[in-house]
């Protein structure tokens, strides 16, 4: 029976044989992420944009800034509206039409990452208190769904937010309606860098990082850890096989190294653009 039939017929045994030697079919060991490619500012019609390729998984984030009235109870705060689009373009499993359950859960996850990591201070989006604030529509478009879209989305959103340049708005006194000056652009102050790393649990005890789509289907549990600089910001393990607390905590160090890797990658890419 050739390797290919064995892999399609009995995927779990196939994986178990590999994982016993702490290596995966595509050659990566348990703690190794796929090659991450980052491209910032690829769409000029958006106010901020980024493209992330995590192995085959590709996510593009475009941010459009618009003006609106703030909510009465938070007159100084602007809005950040993240939405994940899992279009039928990226995988045969998705159908066209309104977003499915997974897309909604991911959009909610991105909203929680933005709110709890406080990467953008909402008050910095305020133009005139109580009258006019910025709203950043962050649309994350998944172009190729090969597992672990969450990490790619968080990275794409962060890189796009760093790329945002808002035009200056002046309120002219008599008519009170805003005037935009597209030439003078102000970058958005980013106060922290949320970086997410996702682990898959296999056979209740083996943990490996950055699962592909195939590994995600075989996994019996998924953990997503979002770290900001040296603090934990969001740990999300929805069900799946139970874990001893020690297993969970040694994931944290891997996540902290990952956040260093990512911040180095972002700075390199931003430097390569500025030059």
């Amino acid at each position: 029976m050739t390797i290919f039939n064995f892999r399609t017929a009995r995927p779990v045994e196939y994986y178990r044989k590999y994982l016993e030697q702490d290596v995966r079919p595509d050659g990566r060991d348990l703690g190794e992420f796929r090659r991450t490619v980052l491209n910032i500012g690829c769409v000029t019609t958006a106010d901020g944009s980024a493209l992330v390729k995590l192995g085959n998984t590709t996510v593009m984030c475009g941010i459009k800034a618009e003006l609106c009235k703030p909510k009465t109870e938070t007159p100084k705060c602007g809005f950040i509206v993240p939405n994940v689009e899992l279009s039928p373009l990226c995988s045969p499993y998705f159908r066209s039409g309104p977003p499915g359950e997974q897309a909604q859960v991911m959009s909610q996850f991105m909203l929680e990452v933005v709110n709890h990591s406080k990467c953008v201070d909402l008050e910095s989006l305020c133009i005139t208190q109580g009258k006019l604030v910025w709203v950043l529509y962050c649309d994350l478009l998944c172009l190729d769904y090969d597992g672990n879209v969450t990490d790619a989305c968080v990275l794409a959103l962060l890189a796009a937010l760093k790329n945002v340049c808002l035009p200056t708005i002046s309120i002219n006194e008599e008519t009170e309606n805003p005037e935009t000056d597209l030439t003078k652009r102000v970058p958005l102050p980013i106060s922290s860098q949320p970086v997410s790393s996702t682990y898959a649990i296999f056979d209740d005890n083996i943990l490996f990082v950055d699962p592909t789509a195939e590994e995600e289907n075989l996994a019996t549990g998924i953990i997503t850890i979002v770290t900001t600089d040296d603090k934990l910001c969001l740990v999300h393990k929805p069900g799946g096989s139970p874990l001893r607390p020690e297993q969970l905590t040694n994931c944290f160090d891997r996540s902290f190294d990952r956040s260093k890797e990512i911040s180095r990658l972002i700075d390199e890419t931003i430097h390569s653009i500025d030059r």
């Binding site: 085959n56 066209s96 529509y137």
Partner: protein
């Protein structure tokens, strides 16, 4: 519009800063006297083009095209079973979905498909249908999904080329490739492959002979599979524009062949390894 509860909702209504720009767009001359356009191209020059197939691992076939600043990605799935079981038909079914990304144009677009995108989906379908051998996959369906990442003019034409490359990459049997090309008719000049600010805008263009023309052309069969035009144009100008457009398609054809050639070569030595 009823609030869309399946997405994170922002404020009720927001407006784009572009609506309040002070600098009113001064009417730049579209074509200078000696026939040079704003971005330095002559009237019949195409923009720089980049085509790559096989960009999406999950799709049966995919293609990415960059025509100047217009960036479009397309994926093809199928032949797979038809979801809604209409009547039985020996011919296969082709469906097309054209979508602007919300950040692709200067004004933000909606997540749901609006009437222009529906119109483009139908035109894209009718441009590709004559080229596909539908009888080769009876009772099955081939889905084409096109997403415009950045729109800098002639999005429909570029998406026709991109979709036919994706079909070829997917190994769906086609009689011929379909090349999309669009022209802007400006008084007596015909501008090939217009950018977004050169494109026809019904409101601030003058009376006669201002319009745009988009053609889907099958090079080896020398057939036109799709033709649409906008704006008021005299007949002989229209005919001249059509012949120029067919010539422009002939110029695009070698680029597509070369890109398909190289992608098949990669697949061959990938499978040898």
């Amino acid at each position: 519009m009823p609030t869309d509860t399946r997405r994170i909702g922002g404020p009720e209504e927001s407006f784009s800063p572009l609506a309040y720009t002070l600098t009113d767009s001064i009417k730049t001359l579209m074509v200078s006297s000696n026939g040079i356009r704003n971005d330095g191209r002559k009237c019949e020059d195409l923009r720089k083009m980049f085509i790559k197939t096989g960009v999406i691992s999950q799709a049966r076939g995919s293609a990415y095209i960059e025509q100047g600043e217009t960036k479009i990605i397309c994926s093809v799935y199928g032949p797979r079973e038809v979801v809604r079981k209409e009547e039985f038909s020996m011919k296969g079914q082709l469906t097309c979905e054209f979508k602007y990304a919300t950040f692709s144009c200067s004004y933000r677009r909606q997540h749901q498909q609006d009437s222009e995108e529906k119109d483009f989906s139908v035109q894209l379908l009718e441009a590709l249908e004559p080229a596909v051998c539908l009888h080769k996959f009876p009772k099955a369906q081939v889905n084409i999904f096109v997403e415009v990442l950045q729109n800098d003019g002639s999005a429909l034409a570029a998406s026709i080329t991109c979709a036919s490359m994706a079909l070829a990459d997917a190994g769906i049997e086609v009689y011929d490739l379909v090349i999309g090309c669009s022209m802007k008719i400006h008084e007596d000049k015909v501008l090939t492959d217009p950018t977004i600010n050169e494109e026809y805008d019904s409101q601030n263009s003058k009376q006669l002979n201002h319009g745009s023309l988009t053609i889907g052309f099958m090079p080896s069969l020398n057939q036109i599979s799709a033709i649409t035009s906008k704006g008021e144009i005299q007949i002989d100008f229209l005919k001249r524009a059509m012949t120029d457009c067919v010539e422009a398609c002939q110029k695009i054809y070698p680029a597509m062949q070369q890109s398909l050639h190289s992608s098949i070569k990669d697949k061959l030595n990938a499978s040898e390894r």
